[in-house]
Symmetry: C2
Subunit: 229 residues, 2 copies
């Protein structure tokens, strides 16, 4: 269906193409190491033309990060069907797909630094964290979370981030193991909170009552019991 004829792209189409090219480069190496010349070359246009669409590398980086953030937030979407542990496990699979695809860029972004520490990039990171938080609450069926639940969910999100970052640094543990582990970590952090708080305990009981005997939560409980602990 291609005509073989190079046609002139419209402004928005060109911007979107540049964002895609830049995201690809920013994902594969630390953004500090990617030059505008390289982006221009990969997009098959001149350096001045890149500047025609984006005033500088930071604005192009922020546009690429916006696309990546929207992509990641979309991966958190999961039908409200079936056991919770299985839902979270599927989301973890898509999260690690994302981390895998954008490894070096993800590391550079999350570890901070001059090129990536703008208030816009921080706001984008926070927006993705918030999207994850909102999704988890909706799956738990909670609209007005108590402070302890908010803490468990938000601190688990940061645990997922740091687990992914540590995984990227050498990939010494199979990612499937970490995906399952994070599901279990969620249950474990919630259980610790529930062990000392009646409200959290009631919430956890309600949430876990429909988990199947062969699901990840029940599996974990059995294994923990088996530890001489």
């Amino acid at each position: 269906m291609t005509t073989g004829v190079r046609r002139r792209m419209g402004v928005e189409e060109r911007r979107q193409q540049l964002i895609g090219v830049a995201l690809e480069l920013f994902s594969r190496r630390s953004p500090d190491e990617v030059s505008i010349d390289e982006i221009a070359s990969a997009a098959g246009i001149s350096r001045p033309l890149v500047y025609h669409y984006f005033p500088g590398k930071l604005s192009l980086y922020e546009a690429a990060l916006k696309r990546a953030s929207d992509d990641l937030a979309a991966r958190f979407m999961e039908p409200h069907e079936g056991p919770l542990g299985a839902r979270l496990l599927r989301v973890m699979g898509r999260f690690f797909d994302f981390v895998d695809e954008h490894g070096p860029g993800f590391s550079a972004l999350m570890r901070g630094g001059p090129a990536v520490g703008s208030s816009t990039t921080n706001a984008l990171i926070d927006s993705v964290r918030q999207a994850a938080y909102v999704q988890i609450l909706s799956h738990l069926g909670v609209t007005d979370p108590p402070a302890r639940l908010e803490l468990v969910v938000r601190s688990w999100i940061s645990l997922a981030e740091s687990t992914a970052l540590i995984w990227l640094d050498g990939r010494r543990i199979p990612r499937a193991e970490l995906e399952a582990q994070l599901v279990h970590d969620f249950a474990a952090l919630a259980a610790v909170s529930a062990a000392y708080d009646e409200e959290m305990s009631a919430l956890l009981r309600r949430v876990l009552k429909d988990e199947p005997a062969d699901g990840p939560f029940t599996d974990l409980a059995g294994r923990l019991m088996a530890l001489a602990f």
Copy 2:
């Protein structure tokens, strides 16, 4: 013992005084909001004299952060005596003391941003994380940690950071509860890892075998068993 006579400070003494004054101001408000004028005024010297000792606000901020980092790392030091859970609980108490004393500055630093995202500040944050990591391994009696133990310890350190940040945002949960919870979270994350890995399981059994019946680890295990889980 004071003479009442204002004497002229030496260069290093003046630098140290300025660092102390700056750290106090950077701790109480976001560093973005603290001006050199304010630091000069609090130190009782002129603005040009501040610049005589530090070329700019960033270098003074970095010096203040270095002092705070050394202070925090020193609080991780704990005698190798008594049950592990009790040791970790004491360290958590000192960690929250630090977070309490430096609240707004700690939040601004850990949330990143233009004023605080220099490579020097990131290196200082990493050095404190590394100090925590080394301390924990030494208490566990491990010199050559397997990848899964490294993951548990490092990801728990990030969990402690995010728990402290969430606590600072409104202080809606008593800090003593969070200090105990983090000790339990450590045990819980280690247990999840041990549930799926023989090496971690053996390590956890060895580490926990001397925990007392009234210690935090045993207390948690009992409470988890009591959850219908």
